[in-house]
Subunit: 340 residues, 2 copies
């Protein structure tokens, strides 16, 4: 009945306003906000009431300043425009949110130097408690001016990193794909690779090669791609002219899709004349034509684990272990035994 007038917007309601309204001290308000200690239920209710009627919202900046904690995780990625990155970010955001943390996107500026485009970022202000680096590049980490005192978890990195690494088990996935094709009876398996700048792509390629070698099969030259459907299409155009190729392992589903397109255009039948395996298991992959056999990776697990490890580091645990998330092969209709 008192503060009804919605006249001029007061600036901001602070804890002391609430305290005055509830007839308690600021400190008690703080305790109620943080669900702390024993505050007498009656007092608590009185404070709560005052908070809602005044529309009080704790000032996060002040809180962070005082406590030194931002309850915020920073994420560094080059681009959101890839299926994997997006899914990973989604999972990270969800996991962080469950722990009552917020996710902020830390900008990465591209820089061209000596012909190579590298990333250069100056995280000039510390406003995060931890950082997840989801970056895909031949990136010298020194190019990113990272805070020294903030825990960091890295995805898609060389294992050489001293930081904790969380990643899909690229090697296992590529082996699954390659072995599947060999098991079907193909003499060997060709590979439509991802960009050399990606650690994931490199590991998939290495594992494909190792699997062939372990089976004593010839290792054909690699088709170089860059994750895109158009690079897959270009590779597909080469493949359709070479009847001796009966099986291809594509570095990701988009590349596989591009190959499928070339096959359609030139009448190369899949899987009768050519078996194709992808990697990622995008939601669309089961509707490609034919539905794509592919390696499913669990982006959700990767995102969730990276937050778990990061939070442990933030909480002070030293030397958190790196973690590898297994994949599984999803067999659909793009693979078959070679024609006799």
């Amino acid at each position: 009945m008192s503060e009804e007038s919605p006249v001029a917007a007061r600036r901001t309601v602070s804890a002391s306003d609430v305290a005055r309204a509830a007839g308690v001290s600021m400190q008690t308000v703080s305790r109620v906000v943080r669900d702390l200690d024993n505050v007498q239920p009656a007092t608590r209710d009185r404070v709560r009431e005052a908070m809602t009627s005044l529309g009080y919202r704790p000032n996060r900046a002040a809180r962070a300043l005082r406590s030194g904690r931002f309850r915020t995780i920073g994420v560094i990625m080059f681009t959101l425009s890839s299926y994997g990155n997006m899914r990973t970010l989604d999972a990270i955001a969800e996991a962080a949110s469950a722990l009552d943390h917020t996710v902020t996107l830390l900008p990465v500026h591209q820089r061209t130097r000596g012909g190579v485009s590298t990333a250069f970022t100056r995280l000039s202000e510390q406003a995060v408690d931890g950082i997840v680096i989801v970056i895909e590049a031949n990136l010298d980490e020194t190019e990113i001016d990272l805070p020294t005192d903030v825990p960091i978890v890295v995805l898609d990195s060389s294992r050489a990193s001293e930081r904790p690494v969380v990643d899909t088990d690229q090697a296992q996935g590529a082996r699954l794909a390659t072995q599947h094709l060999l098991d079907l009876g193909h003499e060997t398996v060709w590979h439509a690779a991802g960009p050399d700048s990606s650690f994931s792509a490199r590991r998939r390629q290495e594992s494909w090669r190792a699997t062939l070698e372990a089976a004593g099969r010839p290792v054909p030259p690699v088709f170089e791609g860059d994750w895109t459907t158009s690079s897959g299409y270009r590779i597909g155009l080469e493949i359709v002219n070479r009847p001796e190729i009966t099986a291809v392992f594509a570095a990701n589903d988009q590349t596989a899709l591009g190959i499928l397109r070339a096959c359609h255009e030139f009448g190369r039948r899949v899987p009768e004349d050519l078996s194709v395996v992808g990697f990622d298991d995008m939601p669309e992959s089961d509707s490609f034509w034919p539905p794509l056999t592919t390696v499913h990776q669990s982006f959700d697990d990767v995102g969730r684990l990276s937050i778990e490890i990061l939070m442990a580091e933030i909480a002070g645990s030293k030397g958190a272990a790196s973690t590898i998330v297994p994949t599984r092969l999803v067999v659909r209709d793009s693979t078959a035994a070679p024609r006799a």
Copy 2:
């Protein structure tokens, strides 16, 4: 030569540490940091040197507390797992970054009440200067406890909102698609709709209907979908049994892809027996089989404009105008004249 020892990590370097090292006052450090005023070049250099050698980073919380500005934009979205949302977020992040702002993902918690799942979010703490709502739901805005004093821009909203709205011109896009099919000589066009909870989906449907009516064509019943390939596949299964259907406008590319799959499985030829148009123009769409005719929407423009408008609001301009971004039709191989 002096501070070489990397012994124990000091806590944080503050402006006063820098001031001491450079032999100036904190205020001068602050001036240098903000590139302000006239600071004697010699002094400026001295301070800069001290900053780098000490590894000084301004404390963003303190800065925000003092200035009341966070240099941060909050983004509210249900899920990142849709092509459009992801692209929009990417564009928003880029635009914000160009203006030296950071983007944070504000979590939205799902809540089920009375059988309907609604969003409930308590943005309990204000830590953003403005908010972009990219939400797709029959959402009573009161369900989200938004700060009252923060500028907001809405995407994918009913036009009824009093807030500034930025969106793709859904109506124009749907008209383009429908008219294209009519122009090819189809008697009428069927529609594989998106979920009713999406304003975009509803507007595409309305415009499809209006276009048919304006052309004096019969308006067939709507196939109800939910953006996914599997709903498109389900719709496709119905279509393949009905030879009288010669043209379909799908609410998005995924739905179209599902329809294509059903056509392949049951030998309904596209575009000879059925013309299909999508909406979005995903990067994969030109590699579908056949390459998909679709409506291209410019997510980049939507993201960029939303930030422009939001920033203007933050800067104090009242009543920012809503904006509609045009689409364009991309004709590929999934559409043709009906067979005579």
